[in-house]
């Protein structure tokens, strides 16, 4: 029994997997977005797309603050996936929403007051207790350097997220 127990003790000291570098920064997402807003999810409606093969969910968000660009008081955000009757559809890496959820969204305008989330789940932060959490923790696509002074998309205080989006205070 000595070998396995010693191995167990040794391995217990090994830390869990570390965080991963991300090439996508908050500043980069903000530059590419038409609008960045903080708001609250009011309702979600899913329906089939025109091709009758893809489901989209239309999320209505009441906007509390526009951090960048222009957006109306209420925006509709189209995201892939959702459930219509007995059929559901999921795209991995797509953002998901809950009613009443407080969020910060990086938006690209589709038409009128309808937007999509820029960068799929990277462009959606859930706000809870002063913390902004991106849609997929630790989600990155390729490793790489980020520009000096910018911060990759990851969990951060919502105040910091705001000043990074608006520009330094």
């Amino acid at each position: 029994m000595r070998v396995p127990l010693a191995l167990l003790l040794l391995l217990a000291a090994i830390p869990a997997a570390a965080a991963v570098a991300a090439p996508v920064t908050v500043e980069n997402l903000a530059r590419e977005a038409d609008a960045v807003v903080r708001g609250k999810v009011q309702r979600r409606v899913s329906r089939w797309g025109e091709d009758q093969r893809h489901i989209f969910t239309f999320v209505t968000v009441r906007v509390g603050a526009v951090w960048r660009g222009n957006a109306p008081e209420r925006v509709t955000v189209r995201v892939p996936g959702g459930e219509v009757g007995e059929i559901g559809q999921k795209t991995d890496a797509a953002p998901e929403f809950e009613d009443g959820e407080e969020v910060v969204l990086f938006l690209v305008r589709e038409d009128g007051d309808t937007f999509r989330v820029h960068g799929l789940a990277l462009g959606k932060f859930q706000v809870k207790k002063g913390e902004a959490r991106p849609g997929l923790d630790r989600f990155t696509f390729t490793k790489g350097l980020i520009p000096a002074g910018e911060r990759r998309v990851e969990i951060m205080p919502v105040d910091e997220l705001e000043w990074r989006v608006r520009g330094r205070p």
């Binding site: 070998v3 396995p4 191995l7 167990l8 391995l11 217990a12 090994i14 869990a16 997997a17 570390a18 991963v20 090439p23 996508v24 797309g49 025109e50 091709d51 093969r53 893809h54 489901i55 989209f56 189209r78 995201v79 892939p80 996936g81 459930e83 009757g85 007995e86 059929i87 559901g88 559809q89 999921k90 795209t91 991995d92 890496a93 797509a94 690209v108 589709e110 999509r116 989330v117 820029h118 960068g119 799929l120 990277l122 462009g123 997929l136 923790d137 630790r138 989600f139 990155t140 696509f141 390729t142 490793k143």
Partner: protein, 318 residues
Amino acid sequence: MSPALWRGAVAAAAVLAVSGATYVRTTAGKVCLYWATRHVSYLVSDFSGTYGARDVCGPSTVAATVQAVVQTSFHAWTAAGGQLACTDLQLVNEGGNAGLTSSTDTGYDNQNVVVWRAGPCTSLAPGGATDPCFANHTCADTYNCWDTSAPNHGDSKIIALTTTSYNTRTGQILDADMELNAADPALGTILPTTAGFYFTCGPMTPPCTTLGQASCIYMDVQNTVTHEAGHFIGFAHNTDAVSTMYPTASPGDTAKRSLAGEDIQGVCDVYPTGGPTLTCGTNSSGCGCGTTGAEGALGLAAVLLAWRRRRPGMRTTS
């Protein structure tokens, strides 16, 4: 069980346990997603047609080469080729070694496809950035391209996506499609490209520096498809950097070609040989999800230790 094998099994279980390694199932409400059949077929789309992706697996690649690599990737999750005896899940390439489907349609149509998107829609749609297909988000399937304006593609930095259609009450998967964001050689040859990725199937070195370069590695097809095949059968990302289902993949990464312990435990728990598929109740009842690799590994270690202690004179049925 020989002492050496026993020690190896305990060590493997311990690694899983103390590293916190865990597999994660894709869920929808209270249900986990799963295939109800153990024989799941798919087709690989043509990558050489009018809107086909070029230079997948290097220049002038024949279909059989790509098919074989895709097949090997899916087989990592199955018993095919003696990979895993603990599952009887079969993921079968309907097109065989040469047959490619001309379909590039994704979504719920009862046909599971692996599609190589051939470049950005803004350059491949006949009408360019103002093509009518952008208005209703049909560019991707129509012209086999990556539509960064579509909610389901969204960004040029994404390597690959799997879209799964399922029964909302049970979680049974009805359709799954894999899209790979391949680069358009017409848009430049220096890596990394600004739109799409150069997928290679060759050796692990040297790194490619130009799009279409032969005998080098960039975005490894087997690495990418093995990961996406995990989504295809109902697994989500996890936080273990050595797992096939870890969400990052850098150019040159080949680690995801082989399943890690928690990946194997996942597929063997959910699709066990001769046993029932591990489901998670229904959306009108409680969820039975919650199996974790860590708990499972600790359990396995405990069982092995107990078995070892009682081995003299013991008979087992496992």
